[in-house]
Amino acid sequence: MSTVIDAAQLVFQPYVLLVILCSAAFGMFVGAIPGLTATMATALLVPVTFFMDPVPAIATIVTATAMAIFAGDIPGTMLRMPGTPASAAYVQDAYALTKQGRPEAALGASLVFSSIGGIFGTLVLITASPVLAEIALKFSSFEYFWLVVLGLSCAVFISPGSPARGLVALFIGLFAATIGLENPAGAPRYTMGSVELMGGVQFIPAMIGLFAVSEVIRTFIKRGEEVRPPATPGKGIFRQQAKNLVTYPVQALRGSAMGTAIGALPGAGADIAAWISFAISKKFSKTPEKFGTGHVEGLVEAGASNNAAMSGAWIPALVFGIPGDSITAIVIGVLYIKGINPGPMVFITQPQMIYAVFIVFLLANLIMLPLGWLAIKGARQVLSIPQKVLMPVILMFCMVGSFAINNSAFGIGIMLVFGVIGFLMEENDIPIAPAILGLVLGPMLEQNFVTSMIKSDGSFIAFFERPIAAGLGLFTIAVWMIPLLLLLLRRRPPAGVSEP
């Protein structure tokens, strides 16, 4: 107990609290700007942390990233420019709510359930780190392969309308993911001799193109004359969410748990977590047909899930010094510099430090609520700007954001190409979200499949030889076979497949 008090004394100092507040505001700002990521926010903060004591240094990064992940939902909701692939899972519903004049319903849900997911993940981190980390360490390429296949299967479940068109979208994404040099063989593919294309298709510019530029094109075609319902005055952002919590308690819990579990795996992260959670939410929903039309249920579950995954990623990072994503990789570096060597020993030698980090986690997820409220209040002003003024400015933001991700005009080119693709896809009722899924998970699928085959000397049986892999594999196959079996038994197409 005295450890906890020691830890609290390290955190609850005016200087540390001020640092937390400032980095929270910074994270919120960076995250809300499309094209800039939480990783970028962290990288920019690293030089600042050199001059700080360990606790404020870690607090800076932890707080800023937690904020940036939530704030990434703001451009997603308001402008249809998801900041991360994780928020791309539910951007359809969030933007639909904005179009109905209720952006607060979407942002409020994403804020409150992000916070809940983050706190849930932190509590798991505090209580069960060592156990979970042991399990996570048992995942090799065989297990990740099945996990990725499971994630890709979501494309079929999440796409509104025809599953076949959802698959077409997925394949567009998977194909785009094969471009470039970053494959297990290290061989250039479809690069046409261009050095820039060797880098492949970066998903942030692609995402901006698919979602935002396609929307800009549509508005230009309609000459920005589409009338939107006036934004309804907010009925209190938090009151709505209390109601959501009562309506969807299972969803919130399921999303948090799923997010934490997937986040704890060093080779998976918030992306897969959000997609799988969104698919689960739709699968078990009483009203799956409402998904994609501005329904908060999926937002609740996937929003909780991706922030829980952020906390989950710290489990292997603190217990074994294994980074789960680029953010934890940066923080592990900072921890080393500050003389805290992540690993099992740190829980014994410097427990007060670890507990201080935990307290910072909880604080960061709590401070997110008031700051997020302010950000939402500010962001809703965007809606009062007429479309015909807003769209050219958004186009500019799209271009600068696509440029910023790799500081290259090539990103704008990717954005342009995918803007046209996205426009054509939506004109043809091909959903966009599965294409993002394919783009993000394609490289992981390839990496884990090819390396597994090399390890097993070409034997497929190896995918079922390890206990966790076998379990995941059988589950994945069941997910695919059961609907097919039911289909055969009924001998007629399931509802919703045939398009009018």
Binding site: A164, F171, A185, I221, G224, V389, V400
Partner: protein, 157 residues
Amino acid sequence: MRVTDLTLGLLTLLGGIAIYISAIEFQAIPGQAYGAGTMPRAVALVTGLTGLFMIVKAVMEGERLPGLNLADWTQSPAAIARLVSVLVLIVAYIALSPVLGFLPTAVAVMTIGMLILRVRWWIAVIIALVAAIAIQQSFGRLLLVPLPRSDFLSFLW
């Protein structure tokens, strides 16, 4: 502009075949059966199968010829011109910003965009200017994104 299930099925099948052909040249990792070609071939296979499935299903549901339903906007030359204008604006920014620098190009792109949407010209200019400076300050100065600079107007950098 919406293609029918049969058309999309045919396009998907052709896409699958094209990917497969393009992937023939990709070689396996030396000494292994798998490599650069594995993934494109797998994608080609499932793409082709999905295309076949769509064709069979469409034919069973009575579609006989590939078709295309045109949306309303394709009948309006002005709407098509506006579609093209978005693409031209993006290309113009890519081409001109390294020469003119970020600020002038951004102001021009946004102003023209707003004029196309029939915003009054002086409002367009003012908003474009304010937005460009705001973006330049936040991205360029605060977040150190190296926006295109040029000696022309470089004192604003």
